[in-house]
């Protein structure tokens, strides 16, 4: 293919300028890959921590109801739905926990620890004690780390719980958990039956949590449960709609910057190509006289844009990969419990990001090459040959 020969010679004949345009593309690609990897990192940490620490679907009583009465039948029904991994019914109430002079308001969950653990993996979050200690219906309680700190309590201490219309009751702390989320400050767990008793309720629950195998099908499944049972089912996606849409907005904002960065690097390519075309007018005329078609002339300069762009993309991908790995390996001092317990910037190296950045760069570079290429291909051969 003589077009490629000519394109390569043109590039080699202007090594310094072509090098600069390649570096510009490479830097753009590298910057964007690092930025995308960080976005992916934040996104995955956010989603992971959300889907790990929350039920994927939460079922609440229907309109004008306070409780789900026939919750065992509902559990069975949901268990049999496809894609459901675990179901956990809970009784949720508000309470004030007191230890000596400290009082903290909490959300108190009465659960079956075995079921609840299957839905939110709470056992993995235990810093002390066992979540399973809530198995038997005694006055035991598991609290979040920050809640424990605020109350100044530790394992084995006894706190007094007061609730609306409930007798003050002493609970013994048999576990402390830390999830890195708000729950650490506001949540406490007790045995389901014990709590039903505490609040003077019959054998009813206030909600059912569901864990599914594919978190992205949660919304669909929630709608189905809603429809089939008449209860009010919400997916984690809808519960976190605000934060997810904020992420999407920031992603499209960032996308706008990607376009600007790539456009700047695209100008570098356009610039060098315009320079080559201007310098090679006579040559283009002679190539036409030798029978080179306008399409081939166009191809020569598009190839040049493609080669410069591709080289930039390859170098940039390597640079971006190295930079992302380097950033991921730096440990930064953050107070524990903040930022989901991360101690370094979240970086997720996703092949998709490299493909996106590369394709994006190539498209912009080819657009940048299109103008000079078109200009070259439209030259009048006689004028071009006699151009000085």
């Amino acid at each position: 293919m003589f077009e490629l020969d000519i394109a390569m010679k043109h590039i080699r004949s202007r090594q310094r300028q072509t090098l600069f345009s390649i570096i510009a593309v490479a830097l753009a690609v590298a910057i964007i890959i690092v930025s995308m990897s960080m976005m992916s990192g934040y996104m995955s940490i956010l989603i992971d921590s959300t889907v790990e620490n929350q039920a994927h679907i939460t079922i609440m009583p229907g309109k004008d109801e306070d409780y789900i009465h026939l919750y065992r039948g509902l559990e069975d029904h949901i268990h049999n739905l496809e894609g459901v991994l675990a179901v956990s019914s809970y009784f949720q109430g508000e309470a004030a926990l007191q230890y000596r002079h400290d009082v903290e308001g909490v959300v108190l969950y009465g659960i079956n620890p075995y079921d609840e653990n299957r839905v939110v993996n709470r056992e993995d979050d235990m810093l002390a004690g066992e979540f399973a200690s809530l198995e038997r219906p005694g006055s035991r309680i598991v609290v979040g780390l920050r809640l424990a700190r605020n109350l100044g309590v530790g394992m084995g201490d006894t706190v007094t719980a007061r609730g609306p219309g409930a007798e003050p009751t002493d609970f013994t702390i048999t576990g402390i958990f830390a999830t890195g989320t708000q729950a650490d400050e506001t949540t406490a767990y007790a045995n389901l039956e014990r709590l039903q008793d505490f609040y003077g309720a019959r054998d009813v629950v206030t909600g059912v949590g569901v864990r599914v195998s594919d978190v992205y099908t949660a919304e669909e499944l929630a709608k189905r449960i809603d429809r089939e049972t008449g209860y009010d089912a919400t997916s984690w996606i809808r519960q976190n709609a605000e934060i997810l849409s904020m992420l999407e907005t920031s992603e499209s904002m960032v996308f706008f910057f990607y376009v600007i960065i790539f456009t700047i690097s695209g100008f570098g390519i356009a610039n060098i190509l315009i320079m080559i075309v201007m310098e090679k007018v006579g040559e283009i005329g002679m190539l036409m006289a030798m029978g080179t078609s306008r399409r081939s002339i166009m191809l020569i300069f598009l190839l040049e844009a493609g080669i410069l762009g591709m080289t930039g993309v390859i170098i940039g991908s390597v640079l971006g990969y190295i930079a992302a790995m380097a950033i991921a390996s730096i440990t930064i001092p953050v107070p524990p419990g903040m930022y989901f317990g991360m101690d370094h910037l979240p970086i997720v190296i996703e092949p998709g990001n490299f493909v996106t950045a590369g394709v994006f760069a190539m498209v912009i570079n080819l657009i940048a090459g299109a103008y000079p290429a078109r200009r070259a291909s439209r030259m009048d051969p006689v004028e071009a040959i006699h151009h000085v």
């Binding site: 004949s13 002679m286 190539l287 036409m288 030798m290 081939s296 051969p381 006689v382």
Partner: protein, 228 residues
Amino acid sequence: MSEEKIIEIRDLTRIYGDGAPIRALDGVNLDIERGEFLAIIGPSGSGKSTLLHQIGILDTPTSGTILLNGVDITKMSDRERSRMRNEELGFIFQYHHLLPDFNALENVMMPLLISGVKPSRARKIAREMLEEVGLADREGHRPNQLSGGQNQRVAIARALANSPDIVIGDEPTGNLDSRASDNIYELLRRLNREHNQTFILVTHDEQMAKKTDRIIRLVDGRVVEDSG
């Protein structure tokens, strides 16, 4: 020499500009036979280059027709024109117009590569051509490493590489001293005899013109003399 007409030009007119139109060619009629070696002469601005550009399918006439090998080139698509230039025509200009980034051999190979000949075969043909113009030992040199006369020889080798029927030269020696000019003329003459290709040379060198088979004199875009 055969009596086969390779070029038939009828009422060829080329008008430039629209404000104050210039009739660069004004109703030219001309028949040229295969293997002819002819000179086009005339004062500066008389339309010599314009006529060559028309024959070379580098430009389109305002009116009139040109048949190359019986085909009307004024009605061709852009693609066909390119193909025709590649296969049927060889160009030599006053300046060699070699591609500066390629060496002599690669320059001569170019028309062959454009027409899709395999590189190995193109290289072989190009070597033969360079040998014919006496530059076999310079094939690796770039244009800036060769003299004006040598570059013009490479340009000639390139013009003939694809065995075109017609070779056109617009003042091919205009940029050379008289000795180099004579050498180039001798070379063209020899190639014309050996390959039986049609050579059409524009020149203002009367001495050189006299050595051709036929002289066409243009004045103000008209053929005023056709002797041969």
